[in-house]
């Protein structure tokens, strides 16, 4: 299974800088927001936590279809399904590779982008923490979505459509933690709830995803 993780990381890096690209997309989204919204720093500061969370979410989303689609196309998934490792393990490893190449860099880069968005001072720590807790859930949920849509020739759009509603709770609590942090309020229940969602997703989603893959291979 570690072999699978290593291969996926190698592929992500070799196939054009897996690490860099998610990050670059995040940077771009954050850059584009002021063009849309206007350069007023007060407003930008207000919406910064939410937009940073949304940007992270979209950066994750955009790379989701790589989780399984390539393996499906070249037949690797058929072969993995008949290999001596459980499909659940395959899903976990693929989600982990996705998180390492997309989620983790976002967590590390978020403070720098916070500067661009005039995030208020106390927000930086909370933003990073909330992303660190929340992005694993995004990757696992995304793996489930990828499993549902694997084999359908429809580009990422259907996948996004399925996955985005599932992202809503994570987004709400994550952005809430970041916003309260930025405004200096008490964080409250949002943080444990966010952590809880992540843990539950990591524990349960792989089974759903593996079941979906089995159905799709049929």
């Amino acid at each position: 299974m570690i072999g699978l993780l290593r291969r996926d990381l190698a592929l992500a890096i070799r196939a054009g800088g897996g690490f860099g690209l998610g990050l670059a997309f995040f940077l771009i989204v954050v850059t584009l927001v002021p063009f849309g919204v206007g350069p007023d720093t007060a407003i930008l500061g207000r919406i910064a936590p939410g937009i940073l969370w949304l940007g992270a979410l979209l950066a994750c989303l955009l790379s989701l279809d790589r989780i399984l689609a390539l393996d499906w196309e070249d037949g690797s998934l058929d072969l993995l399904a008949t290999a001596p490792i459980p499909l659940e393990g395959v899903v976990v490893m693929k989600a982990a590779a996705h998180w390492l190449t997309t989620g983790l860099p976002l967590v590390l880069a978020a403070p720098a982008l916070g500067v661009l968005m005039n995030l208020p001072g106390p927000g930086y720590g909370w933003l990073t923490l909330s992303l660190a807790l929340g992005t694993p859930a995004l990757s696992v949920i995304g793996a489930f979505g990828a499993a549902l849509t694997v084999g359908l020739k429809r580009g990422g759009l259907l996948l996004s459509l399925l996955v985005l509603p599932l992202y809503v709770p994570t987004l709400i609590f994550g952005a809430e933690v970041a916003r309260r942090g930025a405004e200096g309020l008490v964080i409250g229940a949002a943080l444990p709830l966010l952590a809880g969602i992540s843990l539950a997703c990591i524990a349960l989603m792989p089974f759903a995803a593996a079941a979906a893959i089995r159905v799709n291979l049929r």
């Binding site: 196939a15 860099g20 002021p34 063009f35 930008l44 500067v115 005039n118």
Partner: protein, 243 residues
């Protein structure tokens, strides 16, 4: 014999750059040390900006070179598309990370300067914004080079991207100006302007700019030589495998 295109031949280029490189590097180091030392230790503080004027010796040269590096890439890309000299394409590839680094330096020093001057690290000022966009273009350009396997294909695609990107970078510049009139300094270095910055700051700045230019040339020469060698290495290995 006298055609400048001769140096576009990799062999001639390797010879020439081999002899020139040590001199350029030495001169670059000299100018940088002199310019930055002069600027940092021997200039007075500005009456308005205090000691922060000293940032100008890094900020302005790197900003200038960040733009000029892109222009150089544009020219070499055109040369590659029109005359198909490999050295030209490889020089563009070699220049991109250097330009990107200069862009980062300009952004970082500007941001650090902004904190005391404007009370914020970052504002969406046109000059700053266009620089951020330039940085994005650098990122995309470098990513495309890395992503394409075949070197000639990569050279063609990145050249096209560079051309199209330049046009869009210009358009973005005007769009951004239209969108927001900013805080940033106007051009104070132009020769025909009345209120140029005073000579105390001016001369060390010039030396420092010369240092950055030479540093750029030296780095591009060095990296182009590496790229050429890597190309040959690739060809030789492929040939070994075929045999």
């Amino acid at each position: 014999m006298s055609s400048m295109w001769e140096y576009a031949n990799p062999k001639r280029f390797m010879q020439l750059s081999g002899t020139v490189l040590p001199w350029v590097s030495g001169l670059a180091a000299l100018c940088l040390i002199v310019g930055l030392y002069w600027g940092f230790f021997l200039t007075p503080d500005d009456f308005r900006q205090g000691s922060t004027v000293k940032i100008i010796y890094l900020h302005v040269p790197s900003a200038l070179m960040a733009i000029n590096a892109w222009i150089m890439m544009l020219v070499t890309s055109l040369v590659w598309l029109i005359r198909r000299h490999h050295v030209s394409a490889l020089a563009a590839r070699a220049a991109a990370p250097v330009g990107a680094t200069f862009t980062v330096i300009a952004l970082a020093t500007g941001a650090i300067w902004g904190q005391p001057m404007w009370g914020t690290w970052w504002v969406w000022d046109p000059r700053l914004t266009s620089f951020l966009i330039l940085f994005l273009f650098y990122l995309g350009y470098i990513a495309l080079w890395e992503a394409v396997e075949d070197p000639d294909t990569a050279a063609d695609l990145t050249s096209v991207l560079c051309l199209v990107g330049s046009v869009f970078a210009l358009m973005s510049r005007y769009a951004v100006l239209f969108w927001n009139q900013g805080l940033h300094q106007g051009a104070t270095l132009s020769l025909d302007k009345e209120e140029n910055i005073s000579d105390v700051f001016y001369f060390p700045l010039l030396v420092s700019i010369a240092g950055f230019v030479l540093l750029f040339v030296a780095l591009v020469l060095l990296r182009t030589r590496t790229e050429i060698r890597a190309r040959r290495l690739r060809a030789l290995i492929a040939r070994e495998r075929m045999a």
